[in-house]
Symmetry: C2
């Protein structure tokens, strides 16, 4: 049963289903001066798919609640729908939009709820890392933050407000970082691959590598040491690699000696203790992108 | 697995699950001058529960995406959470909030996605009504519209803007209609009861009795005749009974001779043909509350 009745009916072959929800609001989470409607739809899908993947599940469906100003051009709505559809086709083939709701308000907002199937496996939680495990990551680190920094530095007008023309001009030259920020490609299939390879803990890096590694360490009752040489990323300062948010890479721990699947590469190790160190040294940065603390309404 | 990891994992005992989503936006869908935060949470839960019930399913879980202005008082957020929790406890015991997302924007918006379990039964769709079936309804008709009319007539200030003090003063005197509008009590358990009693079609009356009856008639390829004497509601003009939205009553069709379950009462019959008549006479009213056409920003 698809859209048109009061609700959709979805399959849950193994008797359970994974659910996550995430909202993007014009202003704190994106700006149409920088994101195309297609970018917005793509990112709304990709970030929710990454949360499903981080449980070790295969994404199966999305529902979308879109709130838009009453004078929104239909081409904007079509662009958002295109971005959702294209992200699903590329990142999670077989996953579709099964329901939605369109409302009117002054601020464009998109709330996506995503579903996944565990295929009979246990979910991979944040709490399963064990001393001696290998810490590994699949996906980019710090590129999304680099892209956002570029936009705030170079895609603004004389008054400091977001400038659409400059953003368009900037995109070809810095396509890797700007795509990472505006239309990210998280390694969705690597979520299931990690589960099959025996990952003991996993999450998606939405708020920065150090902050999200701390979450695994705290939930698992262990310490994590990261190797700066292993996380180094071309063209991204180490600080942004360690603390930049929104990449939606998958961070996981694997038993010692496990073959790392897909795009995973080793970046550290699980130790006895608490907290996160880099090359053995403690860090006190908070890291990550927090819309409550960082959003400046005047800048857009 | 509950909140705290990247996603929740829910049970789906019969291998399928029902999903629906609905959004309420400050301005077109509610106003804090009239709704308390608890009312808002209650209504956001109740309207989504009604969509699950209208499939013949038992509500099992909600996820909530809340977008609020950065200066929203914590008591408002607590009130919304209380309303969600109280509505679930009263209307759908056993159903809980399993996930959420809080974002910041200028306009308070709440998007709820609700899940349900069919208990091994077929979903009750809009398309199953057959000639000779009895048309029945459970829940109130027109009361929510009466409540909204009262608010627009009597809970406004001299300039015509919503007035919180007048709304509070009005509520005790017109509690039935105002509760129907601000904190509705749809007959959630009657959704499963209807399915068990053999309902052939069902939906929740969100946009007005005539408009929603037309949806069943169109989806099923039949005509529906309603009896005005059977739908008459104390203190509500017949026009509002027929066209008023937001009551979230359950409208269903049952085979001839079926014992009507729970709060269902017969209000009409399914005939050969197309469209909806009342006492055999055709209607052309659109009916229902449409935020796109009816919302006037200046009135709030």
């Amino acid at each position: 049963v698809g859209p048109g009745d009061d609700a959709a009916v979805l399959r849950a072959p193994d008797g359970r289903y994974v659910v996550t929800t995430d909202t993007m609001v014009h202003g704190p989470d994106f700006r149409f001066a920088w994101s195309t409607p297609r970018d917005l739809g793509w990112k709304a899908a990709a970030t929710n798919l990454a949360d499903v993947a981080a449980m070790g599940a295969t994404p199966t469906a999305l529902v979308v609640a879109l709130v838009a100003p009453v004078d929104t051009h239909v081409a904007v709505l079509e662009g958002i729908a295109d971005g959702l559809r294209e992200a699903l086709a590329e990142l999670a083939p077989g996953c579709g939009v099964v329901g939605g709701d369109l409302s009117v308000s002054e601020t464009l907002t998109i709330a996506v709820t995503a579903f996944g199937d565990l295929g009979g496996r246990h979910p991979v939680l944040r709490s399963g890392a064990r001393v001696g495990d290998v810490v590994a990551v699949s996906g980019s680190l710090g590129l999304a933050a680099r892209g956002l920094s570029l936009l705030f530095e170079r895609a603004i007008d004389e008054a400091g407000a977001p400038d659409a023309v400059r953003a368009i001009e900037l995109r070809p030259e810095f396509s890797v970082a700007l795509d990472a920020q505006l239309a990210p490609h998280p390694p969705i299939a690597d979520g299931v691959a990690a589960a099959l390879a025996g990952a003991t803990a996993m999450l998606d890096v939405s708020d920065g590598l150090v902050l999200d590694a701390r979450r695994i360490a705290a939930a698992s009752g262990v310490a994590i040491d990261l190797q700066s040489a292993s996380v180094a990323t071309d063209g991204v300062p180490l600080h942004e690699v360690l603390t930049g948010g929104e990449d939606h890479a998958l961070l996981a721990t694997f038993p010692p000696g496990a073959a790392l699947p897909g795009g995973f590469r080793a970046i550290g190790s699980v130790l006895a203790g608490a907290g996160v160190t880099v090359d053995g040294r403690p860090l006190d940065e908070r890291g990550g992108w927090d819309p409550y603390e960082d959003w400046n309404g005047a800048r857009g």
